[in-house]
């Protein structure tokens, strides 16, 4: 919420008769506007019966238009927000977000609309619908991004303990919770070494339960979140683990995510630790070259962030051992000791402008950083080193333009669905991106 939204916001409890009268007038005004909004939406909906997606788009646009000047609180305790992002991508070699090699790809669109309702001060309901079109891996079909009930029975000035139920975004690193919201990202693409699109479905969210605690102490503030749930994984998870779509079935068990965040008393530093674990059982079909077995993946992430007047420095380090067990001779018993990290500086050199500099590296096997010992593809497919430089301009609080260039050595995080076989991929490639984003 960034616009003067609540000029006529009705206060919940008022003290004087004069104030009560004023609030009643405000209520009537709001009711009138709500009816107008509803009428506009209905007319639009009738004209737009083509596909649910189009009407969803239409609704998002209506909400956008109505959001200027926006009134975030439509009803006491109810807030509606959303965002719309369109990107343009081009690559010197290889493809990113569909066909981008020496051409322009417009196949990157993110649209989200969310509502949150603060039923009581300790009870909140929230949900977000997200449509993400990003190459062949994400087709833009609207999906429930999160939908949860948040109850915090123990809460005072120095602590808040509670539980969340439903579809909950995974607490992972500095950026995962809002990874599809351009305004919360440093740059257009998040560092692919940690927030790789290849494992997106697994890392994004799960249906389950999260317990959390916030504690404010003289030594700083602590936030702990523990989550257990079923992620939204499909056949694509086989691409992530095996590099191909195996004939059998991959069954997910509940995944675990835990994160501890610390904010120091000066307000400048934030440190974090994330741990996650996920086990997937593979069930072979009759004539399968993969046997019944399982993949067990764990993550350990250290995060750090520091702010100065003009700079924000961030760095994260990930260790991700992935164990293959009993999958047969084609996928021998072994552990892939993945290691990755990035370091990033965002320089706010003028009001509304920023410059993003980042070095981002991933090694699928940290003992074989040049890929010379890899058996599962060309050398370059086992690592990626990415230098990024980007520029952001936010002329208004709800409007953001970004452009950036990646100089990449290695193809480890190149989306498999968008590209030819690994041996036909270029080791050194450049990625150019432009993005416009609006939010309300």
């Amino acid at each position: 919420m960034y616009c003067p939204a609540s000029i006529d916001r009705p206060a919940r409890i008022v003290q004087s008769p004069d104030t009560r009268a004023r609030i009643r007038r405000a209520d009537l005004r709001n009711a009138g506007k709500r009816e107008d909004d509803a009428r506009t939406m209905n007319t639009k909906k009738d004209n737009n019966r083509i596909t649910p997606f189009i009407s969803f788009l239409g609704m998002a646009l209506i909400l956008c238009i109505h959001a200027v000047p926006c009134r975030a609180e439509l009803y006491p305790g109810l807030q509606i927000h959303g965002f719309l992002t369109q990107g343009i991508t081009s690559t010197s070699d290889n493809d990113f977000f569909r066909d981008s090699d020496d051409t322009l790809s417009f196949h990157f669109t993110e649209i989200g609309v969310n509502a949150s309702w603060s039923v009581r001060s300790d009870l909140q309901l929230a949900a977000q619908i997200l449509s993400r079109r990003a190459g062949r891996g994400s087709d833009g079909a609207p999906d429930l991004d999160y939908g949860l009930l948040d109850y915090s029975p123990i809460s005072d000035l120095n602590r808040r303990y509670g539980v969340r139920l439903g579809r909950i975004k995974h607490p992972l690193g500095l950026y995962n919770d809002t990874r599809d919201v351009a305004f919360t990202r440093p740059g257009i693409l998040l560092p692919q070494s940690i927030y790789f699109d290849r494992l997106r479905d697994l890392l994004l969210s799960s249906d389950g339960v999260q317990v959390y605690g916030e504690r404010i102490t003289p030594l700083g503030s602590f936030t702990a979140q523990l989550q257990l749930g079923y992620p939204q994984v499909d056949k694509a998870i086989e691409y992530s683990f095996f590099g191909f779509d195996a004939p059998g079935k991959m069954d997910g068990n509940p995944v675990f995510f835990g994160r501890l965040l610390y904010d120091d008393p000066s307000g400048r530093w934030r440190l974090g630790f994330t741990h996650s674990g996920a086990r997937f059982d593979y069930e072979a079909t009759g004539n399968d070259f993969v046997s019944d077995g399982f993949v067990y993946l764990r993550q350990y992430i250290l995060s750090a962030q520091m702010h100065t007047d003009d700079w924000t420095f961030s760095a994260e380090y990930l260790r991700q051992p992935t164990r293959f067990r009993d999958l047969g001779p084609f996928l021998p018993q072994r552990t892939f000791p993945l290691e990755s990290y990035y370091i990033q500086g965002v320089y706010r050199f003028a009001p509304r402008w920023d410059l993003v500099l980042r070095y981002d590296a991933i090694f699928l096997d940290r003992n074989d950083q040049d890929g010379s010992e890899t058996t599962s593809g060309p050398e370059a497919s086992s690592f990626a080193r990415d230098w990024t430089i980007g520029l952001g301009w936010q002329p208004k609080p709800n409007l953001l333009f970004r452009t950036e260039m990646h100089m990449v050595d290695g193809t480890a995080w190149l989306p498999a669905q968008d590209n030819a076989a690994p041996q036909d991929q270029e080791r050194r490639w450049k990625l150019f991106m432009f993005q416009i984003s609006y939010r309300f």
């Binding site: 919420m1 960034y2 003067p4 939204a5 609540s6 000029i7 916001r9 206060a11 919940r12 409890i13 008022v14 003290q15 104030t19 975030a72 609180e73 807030q79 927000h81 965002f83 989200g112 969310n114 949150s116 001060s121 300790d122 909140q124 929230a126 977000q128 999160y146 939908g147 949860l148 948040d150 915090s152 809460s155 005072d156 000035l157 120095n158 808040r160 969340r164 909950i168 975004k169 919770d177 809002t178 919201v181 305004f183 919360t184 916030e214 404010i216 102490t217 003289p218 700083g220 503030s221 936030t223 008393p265 000066s266 307000g267 400048r268 702010h307 007047d309 706010r348 009001p351 609080p397």
Partner: protein, 114 residues
């Protein structure tokens, strides 16, 4: 500045930062906190963030965005100017905001930051 019904008289710097970051949401007696802020680029908002909260407006905005777009919280209510701030603070029990020194009004309470 807080509404006169707020039970607390003083809070720590870490706590005031957590209140404006919507991380803690109740006063010490369990009554709900309502936060009012001026727009991000308002000079008073900037001054208040830096000198009283020790953080930058963009950090606050990031903290609110993280909650708003992950369904874990709601952003504070933004008011257009200080007159509006005074009105909202007087009318909303348990509310907190800030005013420049020459605007301080007797019906509102001043919260000490320890």
């Amino acid at each position: 500045m807080v509404n006169a019904a707020v039970p607390d008289n003083a809070v720590s710097k870490n706590t005031i930062r957590a209140i404006f970051g919507v991380r803690v949401r109740k006063w010490s007696d369990g009554s709900p906190i309502t936060v009012f802020v001026l727009p991000d680029n308002d000079p008073l908002h900037e001054r208040f963030s830096k000198s009283q909260l020790n953080i930058f407006p963009h950090q606050l905005r990031r903290a609110w965005d993280r909650q708003v777009y992950s369904g874990t919280g709601q952003a504070p209510t933004e008011v257009a100017n200080e007159e509006e701030m005074v009105r909202q603070l007087s009318e909303t029990p348990g509310s907190i905001g800030y005013l420049s020194e020459d605007r301080v009004v007797p019906e509102l309470k001043t919260l000490e930051i320890e």
